[in-house]
């Protein structure tokens, strides 16, 4: 079919003609052009940074301070994740279609209950669609500078995400036990407690460890908006232009992230 061939080719060329200039615009705006990458003075800057790059190995006080900041970061991630599990767990149970929707084995709940479920799911959607740094920005102004804002931001943002994933896990758990209970006349709550929750527990724990892993990474950036921990210390080092110390803190952060990742992988492998 020659006609189809020509029109297809024409369409392809049209696509290229539209996409190519757009791509150039995008790359120019994103700052990735040869001129951006080889700016005049870039070599001088590189030299300044690299010559200033000396790990402060003999500065015991610095390492002690940074280690405590790292402890803060991990504690923020842990407490934030724990609160998120609490919030997310409640939202998951009261928003899950397996509890308040048509997924329930047996009869489906009355409409006010289903409407409440829709509301809870909407709240979870709202929480997880706001980036945690933005929640952190607002909370720093409510709770003051310090770890409380970072903990609150993690709790709210991750609460929304956990609500979604745990809720889905509750729905997709193999429903044999729940159906059996329903056949025996058990209500949705009994099905939840005695069938769905126990079956979903390993999946829940796996996702919780994954969230903790993300929280360690996120609590570093939450420090930049005033949430305490290693991030805040890194912000100050960077503004002081002390690249050797910044490198030391970066190494600490990467090491912590790597350790948490390995631990989380192990826990998840064991749960499987």
């Amino acid at each position: 079919m020659p006609e189809l061939g020509t029109s297809r080719r024409a369409f392809r060329w049209l696509l290229v003609a539209v996409v190519a200039p757009l791509a150039v615009m995008v790359f120019r705006q994103a700052g990735i052009t040869p001129g951006d990458l080889w700016r005049p003075g870039a070599a001088d800057r590189l030299a300044i940074v690299l010559t200033g790059l000396r790990l402060p190995l003999d500065d015991g006080a610095f390492w002690q301070e940074s280690a405590w900041a790292l402890v803060d970061t991990v504690a923020i991630a842990g407490v934030g994740t724990a609160l998120a599990l609490l919030i997310g767990g409640l939202l998951a149970v009261f928003g899950s279609r397996a509890v308040v929707g048509r997924f329930v084995a047996g009869e489906s709940p009355i409409w006010p209950v289903r409407g409440g479920g829709v509301l809870v799911r909407g709240l979870a959607l709202l929480l997880r669609s706001i980036p945690e740094v933005i929640i952190g920005c607002v909370l720093v102004r409510v709770l003051g500078l310090g770890p409380a804002a970072a903990v609150g931001a993690l709790a709210l943002a991750y609460g929304g995400m956990i609500a979604k994933v745990w809720g889905e896990q509750l729905e997709t758990v193999r429903g044999g036990a729940a159906t059996a209970l329903a056949a025996g006349g058990a209500g949705p709550l009994a099905q939840l407690v005695w069938a769905r929750l126990p079956d979903a527990l390993p999946g829940f724990a796996g996702y919780a460890t994954y969230r903790f892993e993300c929280a360690v990474r996120a609590s570093a950036i939450l420090g930049y908006v005033g949430g305490g921990g290693l991030g805040q210390a890194m912000d100050m080092t960077f503004q002081a232009g002390d690249f050797g110390r910044l490198l030391a803190q970066i190494i600490l952060l990467i090491a912590a992230v790597a350790v948490v990742e390995v631990l989380a992988d192990r826990i998840q492998a064991r749960l499987r």
Partner: protein, 258 residues
């Protein structure tokens, strides 16, 4: 659960550590009382309301939003190219003899790119290149390339591809097998993964400015520094809208491609 005492021990250890952490952080519980908290949150949210923001500031925000989108698009595009180029060594579907160390090197590179948080990449690049979108885009590209290299290798390996066997059987070199059999067969999956990572990249690009790497975060950081609360509120609103739009757009794209 063969040994219940063991899981009990693990759970109580985790709870104990959490209690220790909460005690260590010394959180201001007195400020968390419900009524004062609601009142102060209301006051802050009201002060963030962007009613008095000038038109020029909104234009600046539109420009920064476009920069954020451009950063996410450019970095995802670079990351896709890098991940595909790494495929001959990261994918297990292509067997090339005597390339063991290259394989190991490729997976090491991908792992380093992936496990280093994008924020740390941004910090390093801002220090090396100076503040601006260039550092942010490159940081995102590096991190996303690491993630996509892993996801793409898995996607290619999980997609059954008889054509690859046929091509290898007639003596095609690995690059040919990759480009003419494996990639076309897995294309829908690769595209879906790219769309998903683009969404994540946009989210990350919108906060890169907090470390000086361009995009909407830069405007937010300046607003924080100058105590410009309505300006900060406007920036946060635009960021939320952008992220929500990207989520909807990426979902649409994925449905359309399928």
């Amino acid at each position: 659960m063969k040994r219940p005492w063991r899981s009990l021990l693990a759970v109580s250890a985790v709870l104990g550590l959490l209690a220790l952490g909460a005690w260590h952080l010394d959180l201001p519980w007195d400020r968390l009382a419900l009524m004062p908290l609601a009142r102060s949150t209301g006051t802050v949210l009201a002060s963030l309301w962007p009613g008095e923001v000038e038109a020029a500031f909104w234009w600046k925000l539109a420009w920064a939003a476009w920069e954020t989108v451009a950063m996410s698009l450019a970095s995802t595009a670079i990351a896709v190219v890098v991940a595909v180029l790494l495929l001959p060594w990261t994918s297990a579907s292509i067997r090339s003899d005597g390339a063991c160390w290259r394989r190991r090197a490729a997976s090491l590179i991908a792992n380093i790119l992936r496990t280093t948080p994008f924020l740390v990449w941004a910090l390093i690049l801002v220090a090396l290149l100076g503040p601006g979108a260039t550092a942010g885009s490159l940081a995102l590209a590096l991190h996303t390339a690491g993630v996509l290299a892993r996801l793409y290798a898995q996607a290619v390996d999980d997609t059954p591809c008889p054509a690859a066997g046929a091509l290898s059987a007639v003596g095609a070199v690995p690059a040919t097998v990759l480009w003419w059999a494996l990639v076309p067969t897995a294309a829908p999956r690769l595209f879906a993964l790219a769309a998903y990572r683009w969404e994540v990249a946009l989210r990350e690009a919108s906060v890169l400015g907090f470390v000086g790497a361009g995009g909407l975060g830069t405007v937010a950081m300046i607003a924080i520094g100058t105590f410009d609360r309505p300006g900060l509120g406007a920036t946060l609103l635009v960021t939320i809208a952008l992220v929500a739009a990207a989520e909807a757009g990426s979902a649409l794209l994925r449905r359309w491609w399928r």
